[in-house]
């Protein structure tokens, strides 16, 4: 429509005044209709994403306590929530824990997920059944999985220790969740278990997209096994792996239920991350201002990865 009107102008056909009015009316209508289509999405985004984020940001600059909920009074305190959060003893620990937790989870989930995806690409009996069983961790509510893992990892009567001690793999029971040096590792272990299905399924989908002719051609040139993976599979899977990794990071950064279920951030903050600390500040210490300041730290980190994700998806759609 707009192309047609532009051409009319270019061709130098002089439009009569009535024609101009009609055209204007038509552009106005197009404009309105466009906005009307856009409006529901905009309202939805503003209500459910814009408002909470803006509220969270303003809260982080206020002295926001339980009283605020009733009276509505929340005095502005400038940056003091951020200063208190950053200067607290736990802040360093939470940052380091969040980094180790996220990197550990992602590396484990992605590595094992990719291996499983490659494995299931082979044809063998019961492939479909096993692949659907793999989804199991994804189908369980996280509270259930963490309660079960808490039993498995229990020091005195957990099945894992029974197994390890019974087979003399370890000299005595291991304090999976109760030792400050091991607890984070155990939580990462559970996080990896939870994340494998997501990684395996998406990567499996990506592998299916790679045409088999390429492998045949590569085999003729002598590229099989590892070489085929290195020069055919990996480069062609890149767009998928990028997305899986970035989404994985964003999902893992905000993990809270697994940690709360397994260790409640303990022992002695050994598994405290930015997300759990933000929850603790708000809902057990009732300092909602500091809680949202901590939440915003998480928001900024996630945002960086979200931007990377957008860049990557733009690049892959351009390919």
């Amino acid at each position: 429509m707009s192309v047609g009107t532009a051409q009319a102008g270019v061709n130098g056909v002089v439009a009569g005044p009535r024609e101009v009015v009609r055209r204007r009316r038509r552009t106005l209508l197009t404009f309105t209709v466009r906005w009307i289509y856009f409006l529901p999405a905009a309202v939805y985004l503003a209500l459910f994403f814009g408002y909470p984020i803006v509220k969270n940001i303003t809260m982080s600059f206020q002295h926001y306590t339980t009283a605020t909920f009733y009276t509505g009074e929340a005095p502005w305190v400038g940056l003091s929530n951020y200063i208190a959060v950053i200067q607290s003893q736990v802040f360093g620990t939470t940052i380091v824990n969040t980094a180790i937790f996220t990197v550990g989870c992602i590396v484990g989930q992605f590595g094992l997920g990719l291996l499983l995806a490659l494995f299931f690409k082979q044809r063998f009996p019961l492939n479909g059944l096993l692949r659907s069983l793999l989804l199991l961790p994804w189908l369980l509510p996280l509270i259930v999985s963490s309660a079960v893992w808490k039993w498995i990892l229990d020091q005195d009567s957990g099945v894992l220790n029974e197994f390890l001690v019974g087979l003399h793999i370890t000299p005595g029971p291991v304090s999976w969740l109760t030792s400050p040096s091991l607890a984070l590792g155990s939580v990462i272990l559970v996080c990896i278990w939870v994340g494998i299905p997501f990684n395996a399924v998406i990567l499996y989908g990506g592998l299916q997209e790679i045409p088999t002719e390429l492998y045949e051609a590569a085999a003729l040139d002598g590229a099989t096994g590892w070489k085929a993976f290195r020069h055919v599979t990996w480069p062609l899977l890149r767009p998928v792996t990028d997305v899986v990794l970035v989404l994985g990071v964003v999902y893992t950064l905000k993990v809270i239920d697994i940690i709360l279920g397994l260790t409640d951030g303990g022992p002695a903050n050994a598994t405290q991350t930015i997300a759990t600390r933000s929850y603790q500040l708000s809902f057990s210490l009732f300092d909602f201002g500091q809680g949202s300041a901590m939440g915003n730290v998480l928001l900024v980190v996630s945002l960086i990865f979200a931007v990377i994700y957008l860049r990557l998806s733009r690049r892959s759609s351009n390919v």
Binding site: V33, I36, Y37, L39, P40, V43, Y44, L47, T65, T66, A67, T68, F69, Y70, T71, G72, S88, Q89, V90, K150, D154, Q155, D156, S157, S175, L177, T178, S179, P180, T263, D264, G266, P267, A268, N269, A270, Q280, F283, S284, L285, F286
Partner: protein, 414 residues
């Protein structure tokens, strides 16, 4: 191309939907509202966090009986225990608080500080006959905002069979507890179990040790508190208590005791029905041992407070007053204490209750001396509680010594 009429229809639908969304949302949020009158009879709303039995059924009965007594209908809502505070805050900001609200006693200070509650004395609810601990738990800035129908605390449960097999008597002092625990530790059975694992339960279990030793929540790095934490840490370090205690809730400790994996446990009377499911288990209950012989253990006061939030509708105050008086009335105190294995709140009811319920006698004795956790710190208690929890965890897990753990905890709340 789309015809004009279809375009218009779609325009109308989309606009209508967009306009309706906010009004739908407000409709949802305002439906919670407090009670009103319908068909002549007044309806009051009540909210608590008893989603599990025996309390769930007990509170259903109480609300029915108290509603009938006050001539009103009571609509009861039970919220999940973990989300009651969030729910109350949300209702406070939407001004949709219920007429009657049951809270875990240490959280009353927060809600009263928010200004969301009315003083019970203004409503004309009598506050006489209660021991000091219960009154101070319900008091914020000199006014009583909540009263408890019942009270709970903790004691030492011991396995009679294991004790008689070892030829031991239940301990009364710290030294005896430590020695007995060591002697009873054998194979997969530990001497003693307690809870060091959740933010509210670990400090609650630690308070009797810290208080009886002369420590105070106003100075958590004092030598007395350090000594008490050192005592707990020693129990774990010498193997008399599992290293797992650092991650155990009270119900985890009870499971260990029930399975015969701990010869003693620090826990409360609410476990009695659970323990009864194991008829082979013969256990006794004694007071928590004290640092020196002849001392009286100072126990923390637990329980639920009945409160009356400020609501928009002030026409039903008389009915609210009647219902609250009934919830904390003598009849309710006796029946509820029996149902949930706690003790009645009023001092005058204790003796009779103890005689009628011998299995709870060890709890009724001395229950009028149970101390409020929030008496000294008021709404600042959660911060100290969290700091104590961190120190307990750091010491029990061997991350730092009890004195380092407590001094860094004290530093964090300065």
């Amino acid at each position: 191309m789309m015809s004009r009429s279809r375009k218009t229809t779609r325009f109308v639908v989309v606009t209508a939907a967009a306009l309706m969304l906010p009004s739908l949302l407000t409709a949802c949020s305002s439906s919670g509202g407090s009670g009103g009158s319908s068909g002549g009879k007044v309806t009051l709303t009540e909210e608590d966090y008893f989603t599990a039995d025996p309390d769930n059924t007990a509170y259903d009965d109480i609300m029915k009986r108290c509603g009938a007594k006050a001539g009103v209908t009571i609509k009861r809502t039970a919220v999940a225990p973990t989300s009651i505070i969030q729910k109350v805050l949300q209702q406070a900001s939407a001004k949709t608080l219920p007429d009657i609200l049951m809270l875990d006693n240490p959280t009353l200070q927060q809600v009263a500080a928010a200004g969301a509650l009315q003083p019970l004395t203004d409503l004309g609810v009598s506050t006489s006959g209660y021991p000091k601990g219960i009154l101070s738990t319900g008091t914020y800035k000199g006014k009583v905002y909540g009263l408890q129908p019942t009270a709970a605390s903790i004691a030492l449960f011991y396995n009679k069979d294991l004790f008689s097999a070892a030829g031991l008597q239940p301990p009364t002092t710290w030294d005896e507890l430590k020695a007995d625990a060591q002697k009873l530790t054998n194979g997969s059975t530990y001497g003693v179990a307690f809870s060091g694992g959740t933010q509210t339960e670990a400090p609650w279990q630690f308070l009797p040790f810290m208080w009886t030793n002369g420590g105070s929540e106003t100075k958590i790095d004092s030598p007395q508190v350090v000594q008490a934490l050192q005592y707990w840490t020693d129990l774990v370090d010498d193997g008399s208590a599992s290293k797992g205690v650092v991650n155990w809730s009270q119900s985890d400790a009870n499971s260990q005791f029930m399975a015969g994996k701990a010869a003693m446990q620090v826990n409360g009377a609410w476990n009695i029905p659970v323990l009864a499911k194991q008829p082979d288990l013969h256990y006794g209950v004694v007071p928590i041992p004290t640092p020196r012989a002849g001392q009286t253990v100072q126990l923390p006061l637990g329980g639920v407070v009945a409160t009356a939030p400020r609501t928009k509708d002030t026409g039903n105050q008389k009915a609210v007053s009647k219902v609250v008086s009934c919830i904390v009335g003598d009849t309710t105190q006796l029946s509820l204490a029996k149902a949930e294995n706690s003790v009645p709140a009023k001092t005058a009811l204790l003796e009779k209750f103890g005689n009628d319920n011998p299995e709870l006698k060890s709890f009724t004795e001395g229950s009028s001396g149970w101390r409020s956790r929030t008496a000294k710190l008021g709404d600042a208690w959660p911060k100290t509680e969290a700091a104590l929890f961190q120190a307990i965890q750091a010491a029990l897990s061997g991350k730092s010594s009890p004195s380092d753990a407590l001094s860094s905890a004290a530093q964090s709340i300065k």
